[in-house]
């Protein structure tokens, strides 16, 4: 089974290398080979993740039949520390690997259609494969060192993917922002790992967890280590205050957003905490911090999401909010519930994102006011989007209901004070997602008559890419007409229509999953998923959500849906009715919320501004005056001394001889005197 474990991350990595090397060769050859390779890249890449998925399923069934696959080899030694190269697949990791592999596969498949005709498709798929491979490695790693390597690989490849349209300043900036923001968390993780090595002398999961459960971390470290690890998790999982990168990351291609949000990058943080929960369990204080941050993030992001006008922005804040739910569950001592929500969230968020991508792909727009009435034009997309929305809102029996209800249950049991925040967040969740549904798919189609000249930045770029493609083809000797036939025609001038099967099939599959994904963890089925995970829990007593809470949750969700319908769905030309009214009612507050509480501006002004000021001070005062002054002073002093002593150099050999003789005489006199 060890070979299968290695194959899961290795195959996507191999595909990545193959794509890049082959792409290099093909672009050297130019013309037809380059085109063929570009078209083949997507299928190769998807094939790689399919292999990973099959392997992951094999692992899953092996684990379920009682096997415990693991691989262990010594990687290298550093002094007394032995760094192993070890993979393993216990319950949690098996579930994660299956989810990651499955979502990756679907996103790859979807990308084949979405990226069709893109100039740099080979690079895109290579990066996507790298990302998937890194994520799979992260999930399978059995020691902290390998985990950290994979962790950074995920960060690096996400940077590449987010700034894929690097010609666009916003995309480049977003990639940089994501990378730098998560690095802050990564630093915490790294220090945490150092602390772990220092306290336990081992990197191995098993050894470290055993030590932690036995209270071996010692005193303050027992709290500091989980908090440091959580810093890493907060970075990757976009928890307050490190959440700012996620909305901007929407600058990447939509499939990338889906991949990042649904199952991979943001899940890494939650997975990390769940994986190392044995360490967290040793420190109630750390758990309280985690729970507080989670709940706060959930509510804050939900309010922001309710005010956004860009589909992808709404979904981005929604992800942050849902991650807040998961983190709150972790803080409440129920990692199983968090993973369960992660599991269900993966499916329905992927559904929503791919649906949104489908809409953008078809219309070239992504601002809600410019869209509408698409349900008739794109029924399949609309249907699956609604399924995803219901799941997100927590309406039974969709997937989100089961997991969210469980989270509410554990939080109510451990941190009652936070329950209200989460309920409010639930309400807002239902509200903003159905606001999206009503504005985009129902009502008068403000976008129905629009041509392909929308202001969707992404599509603009795609159009540019196509133009460039045409130019290069023309330069290669083709006639203009032949090029026109070769160039992809996804955007007929005219009405938007349903996307092609490559995009719709994954969408439908995901929608089905969004409907059913709650069942493995549902209480009435005995919660097989949670027990399969085999995680340590700190929650007291039997987990189970009180009936009143279930009822309250459902009612809250329905209330949100109803408010959305009232605000946006009822009237035919509703448009931004409720938005306008809210904004008019409390312009000050609404603006603050819509701007994400100005966290970004705060960072820009306080952190970056002060840092820049400090750097400026150092450069102008300390460096220019102090250090440079010292260096220049030394140089000037040397020059002056040289000028002064130059007179001694008469250039006459006899003078030098005389000097030597004088020296000899003096030395002899000295020696004789000493004698």
């Amino acid at each position: 089974m060890g070979a299968v474990l290695v194959a899961i991350p290795a195959v996507p990595f191999g595909v990545c290398a193959l794509l890049l090397v082959g792409g290099g060769v093909a672009s050297r050859l130019g013309g037809a080979p380059a085109g063929v390779w570009r078209r083949a890249a997507g299928w190769l890449s998807a094939g790689g993740t399919l292999v990973a998925l099959v392997a992951a399923l094999a692992v899953f069934f092996a684990v379920r039949s009682g096997d415990d696959p693991a691989l262990r080899a010594v990687w290298f030694r550093a002094g007394a520390l032995e760094v192993p190269f070890s993979l393993q697949a216990d319950g949690l990791q098996t579930v994660m690997v299956v989810v990651v592999a499955a979502v990756s596969f679907l996103v790859h498949l979807y990308s084949v259609g979405y990226m069709h005709g893109d100039r740099d498709a080979v690079v895109y798929f290579a990066e996507l494969s790298l990302f998937s491979g890194a994520m799979l490695l992260l999930v399978l790693a059995a020691n902290f060192f390998l985990l950290y390597v994979a962790w950074e690989l995920v960060g690096a490849s996400s940077y590449l993917l987010i700034s894929y349209y690097f010609e666009r300043p916003a995309a480049a900036a977003a990639g940089k922002k994501a990378f730098l923001t998560t690095r802050i968390g990564d630093l915490g993780l790294l220090v945490g790992i150092f602390a772990i090595v220092r306290q336990t002398g081992s990197l191995d999961y098993g050894a470290v967890f055993a030590e932690a459960q036995g209270g071996g971390l010692g005193g303050a470290w027992a709290t500091a280590i989980p908090l440091l690890l959580f810093a890493g998790a907060a970075g990757k999982s976009a928890q307050f205050p490190l959440h700012v990168w996620l909305p901007d990351a929407m600058e990447g291609p939509t499939p990338v957003s889906a991949l990042i949000h649904a199952a991979t990058m943001v899940a890494a943080g939650v997975y990390l905490v769940a994986r190392t929960f044995a360490i967290f369990a040793a420190s109630p204080a750390a758990l309280d911090v985690v729970a507080g941050i989670g709940a706060f993030t959930a509510l804050m992001a939900a309010t922001i999401a309710a005010t956004q006008r860009d589909i992808k922005k709404v979904l981005a804040y929604s992800t942050i909010s849902q991650l807040g739910f998961m983190v709150a569950a972790l803080g409440a001592g129920a990692p199983a519930a968090a993973v369960f929500h992660l599991f269900t969230h993966a499916w329905f968020k992927a559904t929503l994102f791919l649906g949104a991508g489908s809409v953008i792909h078809a219309t070239g727009r992504q601002v809600v006011e410019e869209l509408g009435g698409l349900a008739r034009r794109m029924p399949l997309t609309a249907g699956s989007f609604v399924v995803g929305a219901l799941a997100l809102a927590g309406v039974p029996p969709f997937a989100g209901f089961w997991s969210k209800e469980e989270i509410l249950g554990v939080v109510a049991a451990s941190h009652p004070a936070l329950l209200l925040m989460l309920l409010a967040a639930s309400f807002l969740t239902a509200f903003y997602v159905f606001r999206l549904v009503f504005l985009v798919f129902f009502g008068p189609g403000s976008s129905a008559a629009a041509g392909g000249t929308g202001r969707g930045g992404e599509d603009e770029l795609r159009a540019q890419a196509k133009a460039a493609y045409r130019e290069s083809s023309a330069a290669a000797g083709g006639t203009g007409r032949a090029v026109e036939e070769v160039a992809p025609k996804e955007h007929p001038a005219g009405l938007p229509r349903e996307s092609g099967p490559v995009m719709v099939v994954p969408l439908l599959l995901l929608a089905a999953a969004s409907l059913a994904a709650g069942l493995p963890g549902a209480g009435f089925l005995g919660r097989p998923l949670q027990s399969f995970l085999g995680l340590v829990e700190t929650g007291e007593g039997a987990p189970g959500t009180p009936v009143w809470l279930t009822v309250a949750a459902v009612l809250v969700a329905l209330a949100g849906v109803a408010l959305a319908w009232a605000g946006y769905g009822r009237r035919s030309a509703a448009g931004a009715d409720l938005d306008a009214r809210l904004e008019a009612g409390a312009p000050w507050a609404y603006g603050r919320v819509a701007a994400g509480y100005h966290v970004d501006a705060f960072y820009a002004r306080v952190l970056i501004g002060s840092y820049t000021a400090l750097a400026g001070f150092l450069a102008r005062t300390v460096d220019a005056a102090g250090i440079d002054g010292l260096v220049n002073g030394i140089a000037y002093g040397t020059l002056r001394v040289g000028r002064a002593t130059r007179r001694l150099q008469s250039g006459e050999v006899r003078d030098y001889v005389a000097a030597v003789v004088v020296g000899v005489v003096l030395l002899a006199a000295f020696l004789l005197g000493a004698h």
């Binding site: 150099q649 050999v653 006899r654």
Partner: protein, 99 residues
């Protein structure tokens, strides 16, 4: 033995005086040769005094003579070059070492 040492000291001083005062490159060389001979004299004398059977001092005296020959050859080549360049063998005119 004392006579040898005194003679050698006197010769050395004479050569040194020449090196310090003479202006012409050839006479400089002459003075240096005087000094070297003074040293050779000492070498031979001490060889006889302490190691008459080993001849080490004489070996080095011969070595010194060889070095003197080399020095003369190279020095004179330099003098010729200097003469061709400056039209004189006075070292005072050769002040490239200064700046």
């Amino acid at each position: 033995m004392t006579a040898v040492l005194v003679l050698s000291a006197v010769l050395f001083a004479i050569g040194l005086f020449g090196v310090l005062t003479r202006r012409n490159a050839i006479t400089l060389l002459v003075s240096v040769e005087v000094m070297m001979n003074a040293a050779n004299l000492n070498l031979v004398a001490f060889s006889r005094l302490y190691q008459p059977e080993l001849m080490t001092g004489q070996v080095f005296a011969i070595l010194g003579i060889g070095v003197a020959a080399c020095e003369a050859a190279v020095g004179l080549a330099l003098i010729l070059t200097i003469y061709r360049r400056y039209g004189s063998t006075d070292v005072d005119r050769v002040r490239l070492l200064r700046e």
